[in-house]
Subunit: 318 residues, 4 copies
Amino acid sequence: MMGKNLITGGLGFLGSRVAKRLLDDGEEVVLFGRTTKSRFIKDIEEDKRLKIVQGDLRNFAQVIEAVKDNDIECIYHLGALLANEAEVSPQTAYEVNVNGTYHVLEAARLFKVSCVIFPSTIATYGQGIPDVVNEDVVQYPNNMYGVTKVIGERLGEYYYHRYGVNFRSVRFPAIVGPERTTGLSSYTSLMIIEPAMGRTYRTYVDEKVRCPFIYKNDAVNALVSLRYADEACLKRRVYNIEVISCTAAEEAAAVKKYLPEAKIEFHPDKKSVEILNAWAKDMDGTRAFQEWGFRLQYGLEETIKAVIDEVRQGTFTS
Amino acid sequence: MMGKNLITGGLGFLGSRVAKRLLDDGEEVVLFGRTTKSRFIKDIEEDKRLKIVQGDLRNFAQVIEAVKDNDIECIYHLGALLANEAEVSPQTAYEVNVNGTYHVLEAARLFKVSCVIFPSTIATYGQGIPDVVNEDVVQYPNNMYGVTKVIGERLGEYYYHRYGVNFRSVRFPAIVGPERTTGLSSYTSLMIIEPAMGRTYRTYVDEKVRCPFIYKNDAVNALVSLRYADEACLKRRVYNIEVISCTAAEEAAAVKKYLPEAKIEFHPDKKSVEILNAWAKDMDGTRAFQEWGFRLQYGLEETIKAVIDEVRQGTFTS
Amino acid sequence: MMGKNLITGGLGFLGSRVAKRLLDDGEEVVLFGRTTKSRFIKDIEEDKRLKIVQGDLRNFAQVIEAVKDNDIECIYHLGALLANEAEVSPQTAYEVNVNGTYHVLEAARLFKVSCVIFPSTIATYGQGIPDVVNEDVVQYPNNMYGVTKVIGERLGEYYYHRYGVNFRSVRFPAIVGPERTTGLSSYTSLMIIEPAMGRTYRTYVDEKVRCPFIYKNDAVNALVSLRYADEACLKRRVYNIEVISCTAAEEAAAVKKYLPEAKIEFHPDKKSVEILNAWAKDMDGTRAFQEWGFRLQYGLEETIKAVIDEVRQGTFTS
Amino acid sequence: MMGKNLITGGLGFLGSRVAKRLLDDGEEVVLFGRTTKSRFIKDIEEDKRLKIVQGDLRNFAQVIEAVKDNDIECIYHLGALLANEAEVSPQTAYEVNVNGTYHVLEAARLFKVSCVIFPSTIATYGQGIPDVVNEDVVQYPNNMYGVTKVIGERLGEYYYHRYGVNFRSVRFPAIVGPERTTGLSSYTSLMIIEPAMGRTYRTYVDEKVRCPFIYKNDAVNALVSLRYADEACLKRRVYNIEVISCTAAEEAAAVKKYLPEAKIEFHPDKKSVEILNAWAKDMDGTRAFQEWGFRLQYGLEETIKAVIDEVRQGTFTS
């Protein structure tokens, strides 16, 4: 019988959705997190195939024990300080994201875990790059989150080549969902959420900002389908993927197709716009498609419709 | 008055030569190392402007104390497990090279050290790259040493942008000198040393192998001149530099110009050749030259002459 | 001018009360804690002489920085996992209580902090000891909290003898206050709180259980007066102190003097009683009195009155 | 079949002798040490039942791996910085002795190792104690070595009570053997070695100094026989043992019985004498005898004879 999935950061926004997907697929799931309660797991916490282990990625013994005692076949290593938190304390980010990833890879090596799935980020690319980035573009990230993700990518690749730990990673753009209401790229979600709630959305970006994004279901799908991709077809360990790349004005226009009453006002914050303009505008997902068949299921319009539906049904986990 | 230089790995092959150079230039030097004795510091250990502090890069308290108590203005962070050692124990390499570099950067941040100079490596480039690599080539290293150096580069850049720690780094090829008798690239040195000692050199490479290298004095010079480069001219924190790029056959021929009796036999070891052939063949040092004027002082022939002289005089520190 | 006080665990129950006391005494205070919000600091958070630094005791860099940047003269090192939490995860307790205390002592050493005040515990004594314990009784604690506090005592003494860090510690019994409603010794507080609220208190102990305690103001007073004790009079670094030692029945009777309507029912839980019976019944505070004049200001009746007053006024910080 | 023994510090003076003893007893042994070469293992390194694993106690992953991959049934945790080294760098001692012991206990817990044997020390007792110390005497050590050993004792006891890790420890006095030529208590060995080599021994102690000691074979015997002691008879986890307690004058006189020509001169160094006089003069080994039958096989005269024999045969491993 198949072993279990360990999801670090398993009580978080994305981790809980990966858990839901795996449970729906009939798999067993162990969530590893600093607490055992979270609004994000309300819809799955009663499931008998779900187990929650309290622990901290910084604590090597706790990571080792979670892997050793639970017959783990695959680790979805999603636990990390995200961009804002990492910038507030790069020292904490070093311990959680860098040492934590080392702990996960060591545990995978020592206990012969088949597979480690790792979300990386478009933020590993810095300034002075082409608008569309593929896997051959040099990575000089300019925030701590990006730095720690480059480190995770390189360590993971090494564990693959040296120890046979089947590390696989995908670089994500902003992830859109009704839960995403903070952070520099949150305008991509808020532009749908606020009008769906009947409120005017006064955004901090200008019409021309183009921050790439995908809908959360596609993020989950990328991780899970990469985990099941045929090893023989993979020519690299880290993949860029297809993303939605449109300007804020284009997104606003699309929202209005589904919410004709939507009021979206642009009150650009100069500094935010500047930072967003320095990011990559698009990712080239050709290789992810060729090597493991990944393609978005939610384009711009499907994403907008899905978020509106979630908001209306109030079923999302926030 | 100017503060002191702290050299981590200061009792090693390269660290001791940087120390010698700085002492010759009239500066004060603190060596940080796991021991206080080393064959490499024989020619400087009596110097009153030299101090030795025993400590381990893994030990945060010892790094902090060395920086705090010695009025340090510049850290030459040369301490690291080298390629062979790092491959023997990637876990030790993680603690020394990764955590150690984090400790150095934190100490620099906390105690407002002006400058951190960091040797990186051509080994940060992996396979499938152009023969001549510049700073825009993507870094997917295939050994642990290269991985830890990419990590050091990215962390250092972040400390520059976020905290103003003046991190500067240069990527080295193999470094040639009479002390360099082990490691995969050591043929570049042994091909001169052995004939200079009147011995036949049976090398493990074939005639076509092309492993780029520079003479140790140029490595020292790169680090020290980068430290004094004008900040206004630097457009990046990490530089590729000019290297000597010739085949093993070409190097052998050049050796014979100075040592006509030299006997160099090629007995290629398949695996060594394969690994060496996967490395970058040349580095593009254009930007280092344009932005801080770096150019080799020792070409192929000067390097051969210098090594032969050192061997003959027996003055080298091994 | 005098330097500032750093209080680790400064947003907690006891830390916040030490902060209040020091502010009342005209001193400046820096709180160090994992968050910047706490119900315990409501009455002081507007004070301009109060500063809050977010950090984690496990993070050496954050501890170093808090001490380095704030002109700290005295550290009240109160941050720790308490008994229950430490037993849930001894591995986390090791990192927070053991490594955390090492970090604090190292920071004190490196930045020449005058004084480190450390609360230890009667739980450092285990079974098979005399009913009344003084400083000559051997310490074989039987929970992780006690283990980590013995470790803190020994490390602190060493830093005093070796480095001159003026480490001073006092061993506390249970601390009574309206905020103390959980934990094995909480019956000492609940026996007052619940009747004061007009509720029946069904306690888990039997009439004969004798768990020593003191009122929170005396705990604060012990720490602050030890900090100002004359060094010349101190013959040791760690002190036992006077405590209130009475049976549960005696405490219940005393409560009824002030709250004649009080309903206290004994429904002993066998296991809890067993553990409580194994603890020391009393502490000998002779040396604390002789060497720095410490004596309780709140006896059994004053404690009961004070807790009733706090409950009635609703002014306590929970 | 029985599992293997892991000996940390296995290439050291005492570890190598425990290894020899276990091999002689027909057991399998894995040595864990920072190097793989040592003069102390010359007589056993060819044994096929011996394996050497290179690793560092500070490196959690290496400790975990050594235990996990070698079917370990018992750990003799002898690796530690000794008294002199620990005093030179208490920060290194913290990492090796404290964190290292935590790593060993965690590995024992995670991999269900039956037994952990731990040498502690008479140096856990400080000043102001009775001349003869038993297990009820309070421990306020005055050097870092003693501090780290108290910490190891308390952590080990906790792992026994909480997790069932069968931790057992014995407190050693000075250990005498021809290899012991440095350290404050080395006069106990040198007083035999030097005369046995035909040299005058000018000692740094005075006639009245009384530093307790045992012969190395008895130290090995204590560890191995404690490992096989019947659990039902053990009333504690840490034992004091019988020692040889005589003045330096008495030892000198005894040496002269076997070496009538021996020249031993007393040139007391005031500070050394002072420190030695503050130590415990004798240990009460009653409980070790009653509970697991330990008694010295080498009294004063047998010890002297044994060391003289070793020196004459030149067979000792130094």
